[in-house]
Amino acid sequence: MTAMPAVQAPSWQDEILPTLKSFDVKHVVYVPDAGHAAAIRGAEQDNDIVSVALTTEEEGIGYLAGAWLGGERGALLMQSSGVGNCLNTLALQTMTRFPLLMLVTMRGDWAEFNPWQNLMGQATEAALKLMGVRTWRADHPADIRRLVHGAATMAFNGGEACAVLLGQSLIGEKKWVK
């Protein structure tokens, strides 16, 4: 159905979707990024998950607010540049306090080739905090399950906005020249 490259993802990537599913996440909404490739591929193939590609990240905040109104949980996957697109819409979470779990792959964070990514990448965590989102950084493969579990626990048990930032050193250096 969906043409996705059959590349071998690092094993930590394979831990994300099962961790989300252990929290009864039914909706995975995303703007694609290489660091989320395994979770997106798994969600697209999983009959128990509704996966929705978004044109821009803030659509995911509205979508997950609606899914929660209807009684189901979800998660929003995006790249750090997308955090900038989300800022005003985060008021929807603050004012209605629905569980908002975000997984953010970082750019402009470590060994970034493209300097145009650096401004938003360096501002990502502070911007989220300014808008009332709890944040955790994952920089090692061993962090992933523990931190996603922790953020999901606080989002779904507390009706809070929680983001795990997946560091660029974890994801790996983007190769621009083959």
Binding site: K26, H27, V50, V52, A53, L54, T55, T56, E58, E59, G60, I61, G62, Y63, L64, A65, G66, A67, W68, L69, G70, G71, E72, G74, N88, T89, A91, L92, M95, T96, R97, F98, P99, F156, N157, G158, G159
Partner: protein, 193 residues
């Protein structure tokens, strides 16, 4: 603009005998119109997050497939979330209707002309996004037919309803978003968290 439907009459007609209808309203006048037609536990009023009415309705419709879901919003609010139509177009939940109360103006900020007031027709974006029914509604017969479509849940629907650019008295729904969310979920038999 040759249209002159009264927005409150349109909203009241769409929400008449609403049965199990769930409603998400965009910030500004659309929220006032829905509230003026009668407050209801199945109404979810947005007061901010401009551009999000369609996406909230989308997530709700994907989750409560057995219920008709109506997004009632204005042209300016819809214009800020046009990409959502493309996202919805990938899934096309048949129980979702987006009804835009289109007066061609930004009523909340001083009645500046909006893009639709300068000749852009919103329903054509929905048609491009593969919505199986899109249309322009210019009379009350069309509004009554749209109400029937909402309840039929027979295909994702987008209607731009041409209303008069009147500034009506504001009728303000509750601004406590947590309260509105919790009572909406309670009406569906859901706990607060």
């Amino acid at each position: 603009m040759n249209a002159a439907l009264d927005r409150r009459t349109v909203a009241a007609t769409l929400l008449q005998d609403r049965g199990d209808l769930l409603v998400v309203t965009g910030l500004g006048s659309a929220s006032y119109d829905a509230f003026a037609a009668g407050d209801h536990d199945g109404n979810y009023y947005l007061w901010a997050a401009m551009g999000s009415a369609a996406t909230v309705g989308f997530g709700l419709a994907m989750t409560r497939r057995e219920r008709p879901v109506l997004v009632l919003t204005g042209d300016g609010e819809m214009l800020m979330g046009l990409g959502a139509l493309a996202s919805i177009g990938q899934k096309l939940p048949p129980n979702l209707t987006i009804a835009v109360l289109d007066n061609g103006h930004y009523g909340e900020t001083g009645m500046q002309a909006s893009h639709t007031g300068r000749g852009i027709e919103l329903s054509r974006f929905a048609a491009a996004a593969n919505f199986p029914w899109t249309g322009v509604v210019t009379d009350m017969d069309g509004v009554a037919a749209l109400r029937e479509r909402i309840h039929a849940r027979s295909g994702t629907t987008f209607a731009s309803i041409k209303i008069a650019a009147d500034e009506l008295p504001r009728v303000l729904p509750p601004r406590d978003g947590v309260h509105v969310k919790n009572r909406f979920r309670a009406a569906l038999g859901l706990a607060t968290i």
